[in-house]
């Protein structure tokens, strides 16, 4: 790997899942920073530097976002509606990948139709999947 990604953002309400994903990325050493948030609302706050992230610190803009679909309150789809309205400089370079345990084929279809979404992967996240995504969207980092 020539170059590390600046930041990967995981949006998932399940804490153990976040823990495992963070561990995986850290072990692969493919990003300088891994950010974990447990709701769509918190993710928006991170991206816009508001709420709990309005603390004067610079937060690295994510290169890659992994988004869970099924979350309490604001789910993945609702997050996307808000995300689409963000100014481009807050949206990052990003490749949005839906990461889900959803067995509903409708979700995959909806994901294909959404321009913000570049991929649809099932949990649990495997190293090969991350590798595949990076080589496809960030060839200079391979």
């Amino acid at each position: 790997m020539k170059q590390k990604l600046m930041c990967i953002l995981f949006i998932d309400d399940d804490e153990p899942t976040n823990f495992l994903n963070q561990l995986l990325v850290e072990e692969m050493g493919c990003a300088h920073h891994v950010q974990v948030v447990t709701s769509g609302r918190e993710a928006l706050e991170y991206l816009t530097g508001t709420g709990s992230f309005d603390n004067g610190k610079q937060h690295p803009r994510p290169d890659l976002i992994f988004l869970d679909i099924n979350m309490p309150g604001m789910d993945g789809w609702e997050f996307l509606q808000h995300y689409q309205k963000l100014p481009p400089n807050q949206k990052a370079n990003i490749v949005m990948v839906m990461l889900t345990t959803s067995l509903n084929p409708d979700d995959e279809l909806a994901a294909q139709e959404n321009v913000e979404i570049s991929g649809f992967e099932n949990k649990p996240l495997q190293p090969e999947v991350i590798q595949k995504i990076i080589s496809r969207f960030f060839p200079e980092s391979c």
């Binding site: 309400d13 804490e15 153990p16 823990f19 447990t38 709701s39 309490p72 309150g73 609702e78």
Partner: protein, 504 residues
């Protein structure tokens, strides 16, 4: 022996009397069409006295537009006079003193008076008859229209079982035209083989004894069309009598499509029933079988915990806790799923006093009520027909939700009331809690859908799904109205039964 004069006198008397008393109007004209004689009936018919008419041209009694034609016909007649009925196939009209035009029938005779030809007209006013004919024609037209436009095939048969009436719909349904089938026997045409003997016997029996079992009611049977295809029909046979003649009228409807639809519907209902059973069974079995491996996981995690409880590596403790939490949660989810699928499984409708139910629920929730300082106002509630366990759960879920989702630092104030409507009871549970954004008003009733993370509020997200299923088990609905930050009102309806008393 009477002499010649005497005979003549008697004849004259007789003819005069005939002329004077005839109930037909008689006019006599000469060759020029001038009126010579007028009988009393003609005076009455035309409104003129015989003096007024004497010597006047006959055209006086003809409507203006027809006078020239009449004059022409009259001259033509005297060229070769003979006795004949007049205006055969033509409508003739006369005109009275008041100018009224009316239809007449006329027959003509003639006799010679010296060298002159005299014409005798016998005139009948046919206004009444024409009127009656018009009415009859109109009524026949109406009948024809009804027969032609009826959606039922209308078929009449005589006492021999031969077809006398066959309307266009019958042509359409059975394939024979009226001309082809009129006079044929019903049992040689549309009656299927297996019913022919019955039909013949039934007809004979009715005509001799007036006993019947198929007449004057709607029956479903089959019939044959021209191609010999048997198809289902709805049939009503009405016996009729006209001028001492019996006949039978049948109204027939092709119910092939209706039958097919019925069959489809039945299959669909059966299918749905089967699917529902399968689904219930599926959820039950799935959640039941999921318990088994889960117990294994929990069991071994407990074992690990005990073995490594002195382990200094905090990661191990962390991992074990993750597994414990996850398997606990899984157990709760599976249990909830099991409960959900069992809901209303063995239900018996019974009278339920909702006042008691709510009281019971509040007793069960005493701790939560006291700890949160909740205040609950309860209006008078009805006695309904419902399922006891489920109703209790419904109230319990809604009340405990109101307590659970209260505003931080503010005691919950909950009001419970019910309103009767025409077909159902409408219950209302209002709180002053955190409220729900309108975009989530439907999602909250879906199983395992939650609005808050586990850290904010405990729970699997089954409660309102239960409530929805319970309301639906009672043929009701459940919905919410809410203002975020101010509170929520949950409504649900329960179908009323006639037996529900309104407890005062």
């Amino acid at each position: 022996m009477k002499d010649q004069n005497e005979i003549l006198l008697e004849n004259e008397k007789a003819f005069k009397s005939l002329f004077e008393h005839a109930t037909i109007s008689i006019l006599v004209t000469d060759e020029n069409g001038d009126i010579n004689l007028v009988n009393p009936n003609a005076e009455k018919l035309f409104g003129y006295t015989r003096d007024e008419l004497a010597g006047k041209p006959i055209e006086l009694l003809i409507p203006e537009p027809l006078r020239d034609i009449h004059r022409h016909h009259r001259q033509h007649y005297f060229n070769a006079p003979k006795a004949r009925p007049m205006g055969l196939g033509k409508d003739l009209f006369a005109r009275d003193k008041n100018g009224r035009t009316f239809p007449v029938e006329i027959s003509l005779g003639y006799y010679k008076l010296g060298t002159k030809n005299m014409a005798v007209a016998f005139i009948t006013d046919v206004s009444e008859r024409k009127k009656a004919e018009t009415i009859l024609r109109a009524s026949e037209e109406t009948t024809r229209l009804i027969m032609n436009s009826a959606l039922d095939a209308i078929i009449c048969i005589d006492t021999e079982g031969c077809i006398t009436v066959w309307n266009p719909q019958a042509e359409k349904i059975f394939g024979w035209t009226e001309a082809e089938i009129k006079g044929s026997r019903l049992s040689d045409t549309i009656i299927p083989e297996q019913y022919r003997a019955l039909h013949e016997a039934g007809l004979k029996r009715y005509l001799t004894t007036r006993e019947h079992n198929v007449i004057n009611k709607l029956i479903e049977i089959t019939a044959l069309n021209r191609q010999g295809k048997e198809f289902p029909i709805e049939l009503t046979i009405i016996p009729m009598r006209q001028k001492d003649t019996d006949f039978f009228c049948a109204f027939i409807r092709d119910i092939t499509e209706k039958r097919e639809a019925e069959v489809r519907q039945k299959e669909y209902a059966e299918d749905l029933k089967q699917k529902n059973i399968e689904l219930e069974q599926f959820a039950y079995v799935a959640s039941h079988d999921l318990q088994e491996p889960l117990r294994t996981v929990s069991g071994f995690v407990e074992l690990l915990k005990r073995h490594y409880k002195d382990q200094s590596d905090e990661n191990v403790t962390k991992y074990i806790n993750y597994i414990t939490d996850a398997s606990d949660r899984m157990r709760r989810l599976v249990q909830d799923l099991l409960d959900y699928s069992r809901l209303g499984r063995e239900r018996i409708l019974e009278p339920i006093d909702c006042n008691h139910v709510v009281q019971q629920v509040l007793n069960d929730l005493t701790m939560a009520v006291q700890e949160s300082g909740a205040v609950v106002h309860i209006d008078r509630l009805p006695v309904i027909a419902g399922y006891a366990t489920e109703m209790k759960q419904l109230f319990q879920n809604l009340i405990s939700n109101s307590i659970k989702f209260r505003k931080p630092g503010q005691p919950a104030v909950i009001s419970i009331s019910a309103m009767p409507a025409e077909e159902y009871w409408k219950f209302k549970i209002t709180d002053n809690g955190i409220g729900i954004e309108d975009k989530y008003w439907e999602r909250i009733f879906i199983i395992f859908q939650r609005l808050h993370t586990k850290n904010e509020y405990e729970g699997t997200g089954i409660g309102l799904a239960h409530c929805k299923k319970i309301a639906e088990l009672h043929n009701g609905k459940i919905w919410v109205d809410s203002t975020p930050g101010e509170g929520s009102t949950f409504y649900f309806t329960i179908r009323k039964r006639n037996t529900d008393p309104w407890r005062a």
